[in-house]
Subunit: 212 residues, 2 copies
């Protein structure tokens, strides 16, 4: 198997480790100041060994973004898509998205995902399309809730971005070892957003705590 | 007047322009890759001319952060602090903070303010203290509202960070030339947050549209 076909098939068990380590270095030192030698050294690989797994620094960055969005797809979108009730979908999405964001290893990936200034052209378009797809997924859930519930006055699109702001901002301030547990955070954010959006906000049978 | 005393006194009318241009370059190229020559060229100054205004690149970055936080203090905190009713304070804070964030020239300052990885030691502490002061200001308003209104179940601290997430995230997606006007955005975010926090969310006499 050549490097390229291996990369395409994703059949390379070291790739997640490479992505996490490289994301941490890109985050700490900046993309331009991080060399392939820095990354291979941090992984305990020779530079040739690293090139066995990936083709270039630019391709590595794109692969990290896609890896982060793959996780979002697998750990948030897929489980939520299986639920039929829109309000329940929203509750689960908030819970799952917070869970993903607060995974320790995901921190650097979150940060660089939102600083995608180093991507250009087709790579940037591809990542932006994937981000937009997630926003539309959330927006559609909110539109379904609005149809069922005439109390709401918030436009689904603005609601979607407000919620994503609340969740994505967590990496700026939330300390998992601080006084607020992840369950408490999830319950409060769910309550705040659902009530604000006009869907009541009373706890449902599968509220975050019960769903664990 | 020496350069240092000029800097300390802030009596230098070119400083805001220097800050905005440098913030844009730091944002576009990254701090490490931006040289003092790049900044002086973008300003139409010689390098010596730039050093007449500022002492070093690190000091320039710190000065930009303090400039951004000065604007937050002057354009958000001061007008809001003069209001006595807590709910009215909150409405005005949301309006004024959104207004500041959406100022075209403020964009790059917002971005680099939230990527303050290039500050270290005392400079980083100073900026973080100023940010915390703003968060406490908002948190105190939310605690005052909670005391008046037993319907709310959201902890003031979590409410404060949720709101800052909604507002600070705007730079990631909001297009002032898009279909949602700034007034509409402000009204919807105010409604969403106030209702979610448990303060009703009905329009007040000085809602954003009326306050203009």
């Amino acid at each position: 198997m050549t490097d390229k076909s291996k990369e395409a098939a994703g059949g390379d068990s070291r790739r997640p480790e490479i992505f996490h380590v490289a994301a941490r270095l890109f985050h700490e030192k900046g993309f331009a100041q991080t060399s392939m030698s820095d990354i291979s050294a941090a992984l305990g690989l020779t530079k040739a060994g690293l090139y066995h797994h990936i083709l270039s620094k630019e391709q590595l960055l794109l692969a990290i973004f896609n890896y982060g969005l793959d996780l979002l797809e697998r750990e948030v979108v897929q489980p939520v898509a299986e639920i039929s009730d829109p309000e329940e979908k929203l509750r689960r999405l908030i819970q799952k998205h917070i869970q993903l964001i607060l995974q320790k290893r995901f921190h650097e990936i979150t940060v660089i995902l939102h600083e995608n200034r180093t991507l250009h052209g087709k790579s940037l378009d591809q990542i932006n399309q994937r981000k937009k797809k997630y926003i539309r997924f959330l927006e559609n859930i909110l539109a379904d809730i609005a149809r069922k519930n005439p109390r709401g006055k918030i436009q689904p699109k603005l609601g979607a971005f407000a919620l994503l702001g609340m969740i994505n901002w967590l990496y700026q301030w939330y300390n998992p070892r601080g006084p607020v547990s992840q369950d408490e955070l999830t319950e409060q954010f769910t309550e705040l957003f659902l009530r604000g959006y006009g869907t009541g906000g009373a706890a449902s049978p599968s509220s975050p705590r019960a769903a664990r």
